[in-house]
């Protein structure tokens, strides 16, 4: 072949070789079809493990019970037993190491999530004990009178 034809041909070959080399280096070895089809299961397999390793923040009430059994027992004896500790006390994460103390949400807004009256027939919301936030001690925190671990005023 003549030189002028050979030169661009060689350049193209080198470019393609470089491209393939870069591709082989940059695409992880576990990248491929892992599952039923290329359409839905073409991925880097180790990413599944990456997602499994994501940190758990909410530990569940059994974790709280290990140290705070008296508080656990009190809430379990009340109608609020259906509520997880962490819904009001915040996610435990690595408590007691990190964070050392949890910030308790004692705001009026937290109680109103369930106890603001909304008469919706197709929702169990209608059956919950409820108040009208505009007329029932507006601006005051519920916890000033009600104990969330024993919310009925008669039982106090």
């Amino acid at each position: 072949m003549k030189n002028h034809a050979w030169r661009p041909f060689a350049v193209a070959i080198v470019a393609i070789a470089l491209l393939l080399l870069a591709r082989a280096k940059m695409v992880p070895a576990d990248f491929g079809v892992h599952g039923k089809s290329f359409t839905y299961n073409f991925y880097r397999k180790s990413d599944v493990q990456d997602w499994r390793n994501f940190k758990v923040k909410y530990k569940g009430r059994k974790y709280c019970q290990e140290c705070h059994s008296e508080n656990y027992d009190s809430i379990m004896a009340s109608p609020h037993q259906i509520i997880q500790c962490e819904n009001c006390h915040g996610p435990a994460i690595d408590h007691p190491d990190n964070p050392e103390t949890l910030t308790i949400d004692t705001s009026r807004g937290l109680c109103l999530r369930c106890h603001a009256s909304l008469p919706y027939s197709l929702s169990d919301r209608a059956d919950l004990p409820a108040i009208d936030p505009d007329t029932h001690n507006p601006g005051q925190d519920c916890v000033e009178c009600h104990n969330p671990h024993n919310p009925s005023l008669e039982d106090m």
């Binding site: 359409t39 073409f42 599944v48 997602w51 994501f54 923040k57 996610p91 919706y120 197709l122």
Partner: protein, 256 residues
């Protein structure tokens, strides 16, 4: 050049047959691939929402945002609760302020005060990723960052996603969003880090009323599977053919 009639027909015939054979007919499946194609995974995560039980407290949204490090004060969320109020004049009033993160504490919807006596139907409806069997969001991903795991959950590879946003547009349920911190597409993972450790998802744990449940469709003794198999359940936008795997008890046609 000599070519008999017989030889010509023979060659033309074999040529046509050979050309019509797809390349894939010669592909030898490796055993693992064949195994997966017949659906051998022992788990298929599915979700069940009991619409009647949802009281619109929004604790699920709050828990999800905290658990999955979704920016708390930005208008992005992996799960949300919608409120549907249908009045006697036939009008629909739908809202979901901040995805229902702070619950629904007022009868006012988008500045409109609705009187209880005007209401025909009213309910709350939690939404999250449907973890479709045929996920359109995965189909459109140009780089293979979105995928379906063997147990049916659709995940996004954060190291691989280029943030093009095709999947966000492709999802008919609008469950995907652009993560403001990681600059990639983000979505509900059914709390993959929790369910693969035997825990429930953060939203299921946070729900005090049992409106949200997660189960394994391939386990016939799973309470969720039993309900899906024996009761009247519905899915969202069935007509799209995505085969969504979040089932609803008490779904209404007003829900879109």
């Amino acid at each position: 050049m000599s070519c008999s009639r017989r030889k010509f027909l023979k060659t033309a015939f074999t040529g046509t047959i050979a050309a019509s054979l797809p390349l894939s007919a010669f592909k030898i499946l490796n055993p693992a691939e064949a195994h997966a194609s017949i659906g051998d995974a022992k788990t298929r995560w599915v979700f069940l929402v009991d619409v009647q039980k949802c009281v619109g407290c929004g604790m699920c949204v709050k828990a999800c945002k905290n658990e999955n490090e979704v920016p708390y004060d930005l208008p992005v969320t992996r799960t949300w609760v919608e409120r549907y109020v249908i009045t006697k004049d036939g009008k629909e009033h739908i809202d979901s302020p901040m995805g229902g993160r702070d619950g629904f504490t007022s009868a006012e919807i988008k500045g409109e005060k609705i009187k209880p006596e005007d209401i025909n139907k009213a309910f709350f409806l939690p939404k999250l990723c449907n973890q479709c069997d045929n996920p359109p969001c995965v189909q459109v991903c140009p780089v293979g960052a979105s995928f379906q795991t063997l147990d049916g959950v659709v995940l996004v590879d954060r190291t691989w996603c280029i943030g093009c946003g095709y999947c966000i547009m492709a999802c008919p349920y609008g469950v995907r969003f652009f993560h403001p911190k990681y600059k990639v597409a983000d979505k509900c993972t059914f709390c993959y880090h929790r369910i693969s450790k035997g825990m429930k998802t953060a939203c299921v744990d946070a729900c005090s009323f049992g409106a949200r449940q997660i189960g394994n469709l391939k386990d016939p003794d799973d309470p969720v599977t039993k309900i899906i198999m024996t009761e009247r359940v519905g899915v969202l936008k069935d007509e799209y053919g995505t085969k969504p795997q979040v089932y609803y008890l008490g779904l209404d046609e007003e829900v879109r």
